[in-house]
Subunit: 428 residues, 2 copies
C-alpha cells in the first residue's frame, strides 16, 4: 500500500477501506506518509466527505496511534464534557467540580485557545501557581482524591490527531465535519472517560454557523462515541452572543467563582446545571440513586461544588485564595442609540478580546491573563444612548483601537431578530 | 495575503484572483508557502477546477518564476513539439532534424521518463557519448549551426513548475487538466519557441484515456499558447497500441534511424511527417515559401534529415556511427491463438518495458539503455498460434516473469474493435 493509492481513492470519490485507513494513519504517525501527502488527503476528505463507517474507523485508528487511559478501577463512574468552542465559554470551570460534588469523576483533558475562542487551560493559568501538566499517575490520584481534574493532554494520547490537527490548521482543511468529529472523539475516547456530553455551539461566535451543520457534527460524534462504548449525548447550544458577562482569562475565572458561590449570570448557571445533569445521567448517576448525593443546582447552592473547586485548584499548585490579576487599563464602549439591545455579536466580542491580548494568533504566542471584555448589559436589555455596553480590559492602552474596530457593527439596538434559545436541540 | 486565504477560496469553489495566483506562485517558489499548503491547494484545484482566466494566469506566474529564453535573433523561425507521452513515442528523434532540414529551428527542452512512458533524454542517452545538459549559450550556438537541439531544461526555467511537478507526483494531484496544461505550457513558453504543436495522446497507453478529456486538455493548452503569443496547434493522436515496433531506449533510437534513413514503420513515418508539417506551418514556413526548401517527407527520403541528426548528435558529444548497445537476453512472447490481432494494449507493453528495466519508478532510479519490447506484428495483422508476437529484451533473465505478467490479457485476437485512426482530431 502507498499514500498515492489512498489519496487517489478518496480524490476519486471512493470509500476508503479499513486497511487503507489503518495503514495511512499508522504510516503518517510513523512519518512514512509525508505532511504534503496527508494535506492532499485531508483536502480530498474535506471536499468528498466520509461515510459513517470511514469516520468511525479513522477515529479508531487515531486512538490506536497512542495510549488509551483507563479509569475503570476508580470506584466511581467517569464522565466528561467537550465544547466545540465559544466566546465567554468558561463552563468547564464551574461544571467539573459541580459534577464531582454530585458523585461522578471528571477526567478532563483540555486545550489552549487559538483565534477568537479562549482555551480552558489559558483561563486556569491566570490563577497564581496553577499548572496544566500532570503525569498520568498524578491525574489518577487527583481523580481518586478530589473527583475532578482539568489538565493538558500528554503527548502519548492520539499522536496522529496531534500531528493532523497542526497540519489542518495551516492547510485550510479545518472545516470538515468528519475531520472535526474524529479529532474531538479520538482525544476524548483515548482520555478514558466512560460517558461524554458534547456541547456543540451554534451561531456567529461558533465554528458551526448553522444548526444544520452543528446537528450533522453532533450526530457524527454521538455515533462514534457509541461505537467505542462511551455513552455520548450532544446538546446544540447558542453562541450568537457571548456566554455570561466576562470574556478573557482571569475575567472568566472570576465569573466562574461567582457561579460556584451560588450566583453568577443566569445563562452560565443554566448551562452549567443542564450539562451537569446530562453528564451525571450519561454516567448512570442520578439524584437519589446509590452514588449520587445531590442535584447539580444544590451543589452550587450549598458550597459543595466550591469545595471541590478549591481542592482541584490546590492539587495542581494553584492558590484558590490568591487575588486574580487585573488589567492596568479599561475603556468603556458606549451604546450608539437608545432601545432594546437585540444583538451583541459573539464573534466580534471574541475578536475584540483576542486583539486586547486574551487570545493567540499562533500556537507559540503568549496570552495575557487579564485582557478581555466585560458585558454591562446582555441582549434583551433596554439601554440608553451613551450608556457603557461593554468594558474593554488590556495591559496596554495601545490595544484599544483594534478592539474597538472589531466591535464596529457588533450591536443591534431595537432590531427585529431576538437571540436564540440557550438550548436549541438535544441529540442522543 | 496568506496561503490559507488562497487555499480556502479555491476549496470553497471561488475563482482565484490575479493577485492571489501571482502571490501564491511567487511565495511557493520562495519557499514561503509550504509544500503541505501547496498540496492542499493542488487537490482543491483538481477537485474544483479552474477557469480559463485562472489557468492562463497560473501559467503566466509560473513562467515569471524564472527566466524566459529568447531566440528571436536567430534569423529563422523557431517551432517545437510536445507530446503528452505514450508507449514507443520516439517521434521527437526523427522529427526535430526533419523540421530543421526544412528551414525552421527546433529548440526542444525535453524530459526523462517516469512510469510506463519513456523519456526522450533517456532514449538519446543510449547513444555513446551523448549528453543532455547544455548551457543556454551552447544551446543558441547549436540552434544557429545545426538548427535543432534536444536537451534538458536548466534549473532557471519555470522553477515554480519544477517544484510543483515533483509535489504533484507524490500527492495524487497529477490528473488535473488545469495543472497539466499550465505545467506543459509554462515550460514550453519559457523555452522561447515561437510556435508549438501539441501531440495529445489518447487511449490506454496515454495519460488521457478518452478523446473528450484529451480535447479539453488540448483546447486549454491552445488557448494558453495564444495568450502568450506562441502559435499553438494540437493534434489528438492514438495511443491504444504502441507507436512503431520498438519500445525501449536504444531500441527506439534504432527505429528512429530507420525512419531517418527513409524507411521505418508506417505509423512512425506518418506521425513524423504530419507533425513536421504542422510545426512548419505554425512557424510560417511552408514548402515553396522563402525559408523553406522542402517538404518533410522529402527531407526523410533525400537524407537531409539524417544529415541534421548526425550533426545534432555530434554537437552534444554523441557518436552517430557508434554501435548502439544491445540487451544480453531476449525472450519471445507467442500468440495465444490464430486470427487477426485486433488489440495490442499500449499500457501493458509500456509496463512490460518498464519492468524489463527501460523505465523508472522513482526520479532517482537509473534506466537500462538496452531493455524493452519489440513488436513482430502490429494490430491488424493475421497471426498463427505460437508465432512470436513480441520479443522481450533485458540485461537479466530475472526480469522476464514480471514483464510476462504485465502482458497477460494485453492481446485480443479476432475481436470486434479495431484500432483508433492515427490522427483522431485536429484542434487549432
Amino acid at each position: 500500500m502507498d499514500a498515492i493509492e489512498v489519496i487517489t481513492a478518496k480524490r476519486d470519490g471512493h470509500e476508503l477501506s479499513t486497511a487503507q485507513i489503518d495503514w495511512v494513519i499508522h504510516a503518517y504517525t510513523a512519518e512514512e506518509v509525508a505532511e504534503e501527502q496527508m494535506a492532499a488527503l485531508a483536502m480530498a476528505i474535506l471536499l468528498n466527505g466520509m461515510s459513517r463507517r470511514e469516520v468511525a474507523r479513522w477515529t479508531d485508528a487515531m486512538i490506536r496511534s497512542g495510549e488509551r487511559m483507563d479509569f475503570s478501577g476508580l470506584g466511581r463512574p467517569t464522565t466528561d464534557k467537550h465544547s466545540t468552542g465559544g466566546v465567554g465559554d468558561k463552563i468547564t470551570l464551574p461544571l467539573a467540580p459541580t459534577v464531582a460534588a454530585c458523585g461522578a469523576a471528571v477526567p478532563q483533558l483540555s486545550g489552549r485557545g487559538l483565534g477568537h475562542t479562549g482555551g480552558t487551560l489559558d483561563k486556569l493559568e491566570s490563577i497564581p501557581g496553577w499548572r496544566a501538566s500532570l503525569t498520568p499517575e498524578a491525574m489518577t490520584a487527583q481523580l481518586t482524591e478530589v473527583g475532578a481534574v482539568v489538565c493538558a493532554a500528554g503527548a502519548g494520547l492520539a499522536p496522529a490527531d496531534r500531528k493532523l490537527y497542526a497540519l489542518r490548521d495551516v492547510t485550510g482543511t479545518v472545516e470538515s465535519i468528519p475531520l472535526i468529529a474524529s479529532s474531538i472523539m479520538s482525544k476524548k475516547i483515548a482520555e478514558g472517560t466512560g460517558a461524554l456530553v458534547l456541547d456543540v455551539k451554534v451561531g456567529s461566535g461558533a465554528f458551526m454557523r448553522t444548526p444544520a451543520l452543528a446537528k450533522e457534527l453532533a450526530e457524527t460524534m454521538v455515533a462514534i462515541g457509541g461505537d467505542h462504548g462511551v455513552r455520548t449525548v450532544a446538546l446544540l447550544t447558542a453562541m450568537d452572543a457571548p456566554l455570561g458577562r466576562a470574556v478573557g482569562n482571569a475575567l472568566e475565572v472570576a465569573e466562574s467563582l461567582e457561579v460556584l458561590a451560588g450566583g453568577g449570570p443566569d445563562d452560565v448557571v443554566e448551562l452549567t446545571v443542564t450539562l451537569a445533569r446530562e453528564m451525571l445521567a450519561a454516567a448512570g448517576v442520578t439524584a437519589g440513586k446509590a452514588v449520587s448525593t445531590k442535584d447539580p443546582a444544590d451543589a452550587l447552592r450549598d458550597g459543595s461544588a466550591m469545595d471541590v473547586w478549591r481542592r482541584m485548584i490546590s492539587a495542581q499548585g494553584g492558590d484558590p485564595d490568591a487575588q486574580l490579576p487585573r488589567a492596568g487599563e479599561t475603556r468603556d464602549v458606549p451604546a450608539p442609540a437608545s432601545g432594546v439591545l437585540t444583538r451583541l455579536d459573539a464573534r466580534a466580542v471574541g475578536v475584540a478580546a483576542w486583539r486586547l491580548g486574551a487570545g493567540r494568533a499562533r500556537k507559540e504566542d503568549a496570552v495575557s491573563a487579564t485582557a478581555g471584555v466585560t458585558l454591562n448589559v446582555k441582549p434583551g436589555a433596554t439601554v440608553r444612548e451613551g450608556e457603557p455596553l461593554l468594558t474593554l480590559h488590556a495591559d496596554d492602552e495601545g490595544r484599544f483601537p483594534a478592539a474597538q474596530e472589531a466591535l464596529r457593527g457588533a450591536f443591534e439596538i431595537d432590531g427585529d431578530s431576538g437571540p436564540l434559545p440557550l438550548v436549541i436541540e438535544r441529540v442522543a
